[in-house]
Symmetry: none
Subunit: 219 residues, 4 copies
């Protein structure tokens, strides 16, 4: 049996001061790490609760249920990622005018986003996928957005005569999406020596590989 614990009483007081929003974020962060490293079903509410340093019931004051935590996490991921995607280069910059450079700009931003947040990588690419129908809807929203990006880019490219007109846009989007996700997974999660990664250089190579297959060779 645990002996009386003044620390916990103190903690209680202190945490009361923390805003509810803070508390929710704290729980979410702990859940994120746990889900990312163990998976959805291997992570128990009690693990999250302990990691967050709150009582069991407190979790349920901020989230409807376990599912809700994970869904919130996924949705936050999309919000944050969308925010990154929506960034556009300066009007005057070269990136804005040149199709390849615009593509490169977008790829690099997303790459950076996931490289800095391996937990999100794991949750998106490993955990979320195997959870069945309920989550497929959410995940497929992400999918659609990636594909949409590629799609628009490709169509614009064709219009501007920068991309081979016979390109199968549907397939190409998937190839780019698949290659990109694999890249962020490999360099963001799998790879051990993460210091070695030079995002700038990798992005260049990525874009190159695609560009000079897809783009019309300038004569």
């Amino acid at each position: 049996m645990e002996s009386l614990n003044f620390q916990s009483v103190l903690k209680l007081r202190i945490t009361t001061i923390l805003e509810a929003e803070q508390r929710k974020k704290q729980i979410l962060n702990c859940a994120k790490k746990l889900f990312a490293s163990r998976g959805y079903y291997q992570t128990q509410i009690s693990d999250i609760q302990k990691a967050a340093g709150v009582a069991r019931g407190t979790i349920y004051q901020y989230f409807k249920n376990k599912d809700d935590i994970f869904t919130t996490l996924l949705e936050n991921l999309f919000v944050e990622w969308k925010c990154v995607l929506s960034k556009i280069p300066d009007n005057n910059s070269e990136s804005y005018k040149d199709g390849i450079k615009f593509f490169r700009y977008k790829i690099k931003n997303s790459f950076e986003f996931f490289a800095n947040d391996p937990d999100y990588c794991n949750i998106l690419l490993k955990i979320g996928l195997g959870l069945g129908e309920n989550y497929d809807k959410i995940i497929s929203r992400f999918d659609k957005q990636v594909i949409e990006l590629e799609n628009n880019y490709l169509l614009a490219g064709i219009k501007l005569n920068r991309i081979k007109p016979q390109t199968d846009v549907e397939l190409a989007s998937n190839l780019i999406g698949g290659a990109f996700m694999r890249m962020i997974y490999y360099y963001g999660v799998t790879k051990k020596n993460r210091e070695d990664i030079d995002i700038d250089q990798l992005t260049d190579k990525f874009v190159d590989a695609y560009s000079f297959g897809i783009f019309i060779e300038k004569s």
Copy 2:
């Protein structure tokens, strides 16, 4: 007392073994469908048992536990897939001599394999990934094999002066692997109108997209 009869004992034994093998396959098939559609944790032993039309205990005569069923499934997948990968074109055929065509031959075989078995696609690309450390080892075997294929191909290609020598083989392998897996997933699982798929044509496009980005432009 009927005299013991070696032949009849033998026959019995053989029949039993065949039946047992049959029964195991049956259970495995039912489990495959269920795992593929619902995921590992959403699939109960009782579901598999009902689907296979056997009693609860029967499952445990053929498999040590739930985990064993899934592992067996994954291992079968690798055996079958490896078998497909090991196929080589006729010595005299064009595929054998031309690097691109050899690549195309391999891609197409694997594509066909997974297109014909969407359940395996799901298990490999969705379910297996989220199950944590135990399965990561098995899954990573698959990964290594895919990457090995790409790797060898790329290195050979560089030697033969068909692939740009400055190519980052590590990255390129991942890109091709990621794109390929995404392709089989998209066309094998996600896509609704599966009749429309022309594997031959898609393979061509896939190879094209990569080749003319990676391969040295003939001058």
Copy 3:
């Protein structure tokens, strides 16, 4: 918002601890009766749960598993019994000086302890024995303590010239221990009319039987 109140938190905590201890004892008591009357394997968790009037899961809040309940029970038995054994007669009393009377004092205390707790008798002498290696270690602790008591007594007796010097202490300890355990079992558990038992008188007879076999006849 009501201000947090250290006192109330403390009180809550203390009450909770007391209640928890109470609850644990309650479960333990029900388990004791059941184990004693039915044996370990015949007693289901659901039986204990029903007897204790708590939900299935509650058991697992207080005990790791079924094994833990039984182990706790055995350990409590030893603690309580050791407490009885450690009692010593008044310095001045006759019991303290006279070897036989000291022996008698110890025997009587233990006899009383087990006679008042037939469930403990059963658990120790019947149930615990058949449970295999895991419990043998615990049970043998009991054995050692009984034997230790006899041993010390015998050795002291030999020194004081009250016990025949040629006595085989190892054997004698076992004989006394076996006879004692049999006695508490017979009079504590087997015997139907338990009111008839006069512990004082039986103890006298027990001591007599041994003394005048082991002790040197006064010349």
Copy 4:
């Protein structure tokens, strides 16, 4: 999957020749060892079956159920032990006439019986005890027989003026029985160096310890 096994076919033929009674004994012997070392519930039918080298179903041709095996074992134990007990010394021998020597003769025979069969010791003293009501009846039969022996001996001894007339026969029987069982358990099962045991000597000491406590000192 096990490959075809000619050995098993051969074994089948050979064992057919063995009498059914032999087969039953064989199963019983294997069960005895297993029950003795693991306990009743820890021993599975499949263990017995494997140890006996017969098929699962065969067990049920010789025994109604698991319970029946154990009961048969216990009953055999009693038959064999009774047989040992019923032996009487030569009419003319000293053992026959002298109460103490008669007692010694009986004790030694039983001691030898159990010392030679530690499995029976275990089954009787450990396993059988914890199995609850069903077996209590059988076990208590054994108990009664031991006590009967003591009882008769004691009453006869009193008649012959060899035993103190004030002896509490009920208690004394239990003391002797408990001490005896403890002795056979300690020297037959617990003790490591079993070669060191000198049954003759131990029996002497056992009888001595009791005799000179119980028997009237000859003046």
